[in-house]
Each structure stands twice: as C-alpha cells, then as structure tokens.
Symmetry: C2
Subunit: 198 residues, 2 copies
C-alpha cells in the first residue's frame, strides 16, 4: 500500500491516522506541493483532480481523503467499528464526512492555508467568521457525547480532527469551545495516535 | 416522509430526483430562504447547520444532500443499484459525492448563486475558472463511460447532475464538454426523471 502525501496536509494526516489506528504497513510517497508535483501529467493519472492524498492499494488508486477513510475502514477494519455499516450510524458518519469535506475545508482549513502557506483567493475574514460557526456546531454536538457518532471513535472523528486540532495555525482560538477541547484530548489518547509530523 | 426543501435549490433537487426514481411518496415542506427560515430556532433543531435539504423519516432528521442520498438508497432501493455496496464501487460513488459536495459546490453552484440570487462573498472569477476545471475532469471521465460509476446510473450521477445541468444559470457554457452534454441527455431519459420545478 502506498500513500501519496505531504506532511503538512491535514487531509493526508487523516489517512496516516487511520493507517496507524488500524496498524497497517504502507509506504509514503512524498509529493512536493511547492513544485506543483500534484499537477504533473504523471500525478493527474493517479488523481485527475490534482490533489493529495491518493492511496494506491492492490493496483487501484483512490482519491479524496474522506473516500479513502471509507475504503480503508471497510476493507481492513474487521470489526467495522471505524465505519459502522448499520444504515443510521453510517448516515450520521457520512454527515460528518461531508461536513469535514466542505465546511471544515472552506473555513478552518482555508484559514490555516491563508496564514501558513499564504494560499491565494481566500476571503480570510469570511473563513474566520465561518470557522467559529462550524466550531460552535461541533461544540454543541459534543456537549452530550464523547464522540461525533456512537460510543467509540469513528472515521467521522478522524475526518474532523486535523484541521480543528490545527486551528491555531489559522489564528482560530478554541477558548470558547471547551467540549471541542475535551474531545481533542480524548482523541489524542486513542491507542496508536500519532502527531502530524510523526 | 417529509422533505424540508425549496424549489430553486439544486441540493434539494437531488433528493426529489431520487425520491422520484425510487417512486416514494413524501410531503414537501417549503422553506423560505429569503426569510432566512433555515436559520430559525425551530429549523436549527432539525439541522444545526441551518441548511436545506433536511429529510424527516421514521422520526429521524437527516441533513446534507449527499448523506440523504446514501440514506434513501440504502433504505429503500432493494436492489442496491443506486448506491452499490461492494467496497470498490461504493468507494468510487463516494469519491463523486465528495466531488459534488465540495468541488461542484464551490464552483458551478457558487457561480449560479452569484448570478441567480446575488449571493455575497463569492469570488466569481475564481468560481468560473474552477467550474471549467471541474467540467473538464467530468468530461474526460465520461469519454469512455455512460455513467460516473459502473454500468447504470447511481447516486453519484444524481449528486453531480443538478448544478451541471443548471450551469447556464451561472453563465457557464457547456459547449466544450460534449461528453458531459451526452450524459445530461442520458440522465434526462431515465424513467421517472423530473425537472427542477416539477
């Protein structure tokens, strides 16, 4: 199994987290975003969208960090705890995956990209304001729960963790969200948790 | 079954399409976005994100148009054709759902919202340019296929159809994308296809 990835990307970090939680061996292939390596003809064959991460497994290439989480959990988690397959639980996990894919990407992730790598075409005022709207929703949800869905950590938590844990790099403070902070701490205590740069 | 929805929304249209394809009865509850009815205390109890569509079924409320498509197909499509459950096919369907959820939302859907309802905070130049990048990816994919995944229409096609079919409302022309145009025509010929305002 190969993961085309870069250390700094929160989306790639999601996949490294799940691979670690599932205790799976894989090879990291480093993609240099500064050199636009994800836009080369070779890479576009792996993912026509020109984005990392891409997972290579059994000759297949899978893109989109959330889709890769679903694929890995369905394929390698024998107990189906990380991606529950009962329809209601699965639907709620998917709601949070879409939240991570669209809401977190356009708010917390965008704010981080603006401040950390000076990414252009970002309305930082709007991204910052909407980051707080997103965090308030997550905080309210976690007031009565330990995990986003069900009684144990799922790929919903993995999909939402990186850019919330890295919020400070986008100059978003978490002081107002104690339930989010407690959830981050719980997440960091999961067996085989790894840091962004591990 | 109740669908909280508004006619003009492409995201709500996705759900109406699948409900029609599955030949399911439901009640439409019209939400007035002009009055910000989706941000009222009552509505936020149905969906804390303050967005339509929301599906009410068996006492549950499900939000996010893509998650609702997954829920409906898993629950009511006995043949599991609309949302295949074999892992590889499911993963590819999910890749396109995430594409619709994030890429199409931030490009074709954003351009339509800018021109049609004068939605603020949209960088129309970037949304237009990125719409063409998205369309080129879909067109290339459809050069050798009738449907986005597999041999028949799935919720991947439903998730991508509305904002591509409505591209002209965002001043995006489809002249350069003949394979996309042929796919739109095929989609419109599906049994029980309905128009946006039906």
């Amino acid at each position: 199994m190969k993961l085309y990835n870069t250390v700094i990307s929160g989306n790639c970090y999601k996949i490294r987290l799940l691979l670690s939680f599932l205790n799976l061996d894989y090879e990291k292939v480093s993609i240099n975003l500064g050199d636009q390596e994800q836009k080369t003809e070779h890479f576009l064959k792996l993912n026509p969208l020109g984005q990392i991460p891409v997972l290579e497994d059994q000759g297949r290439h899978i893109h989109d960090s959330q889709a890769i989480l679903c694929y890995l959990a369905r394929t390698y988690d024998a107990h189906q705890l990380w991606f529950p397959q009962e329809t209601i639980a699965m639907t709620h996990v998917l709601e949070w995956l879409f939240f991570a894919n669209q809401r977190i990407a356009s708010t917390l992730s965008a704010a981080r990209a603006f401040h950390l790598i000076k990414k252009p075409n970002i309305d930082i005022e709007n991204a910052t304001a909407m980051s707080h709207v997103s965090l308030a929703v997550v905080n309210q949800h976690l007031k009565t729960r330990n995990w986003l869905v069900g009684e144990s950590a799922t790929i919903a938590d993995i999909a939402c963790y990186p850019y919330i844990a890295l919020a400070h790099q986008g100059k978003i403070e978490l002081d107002l969200y104690p339930d989010v902070q407690a959830w981050l701490t719980r997440f960091q205590q999961l067996p085989r948790f790894i840091e962004l740069d591990e």
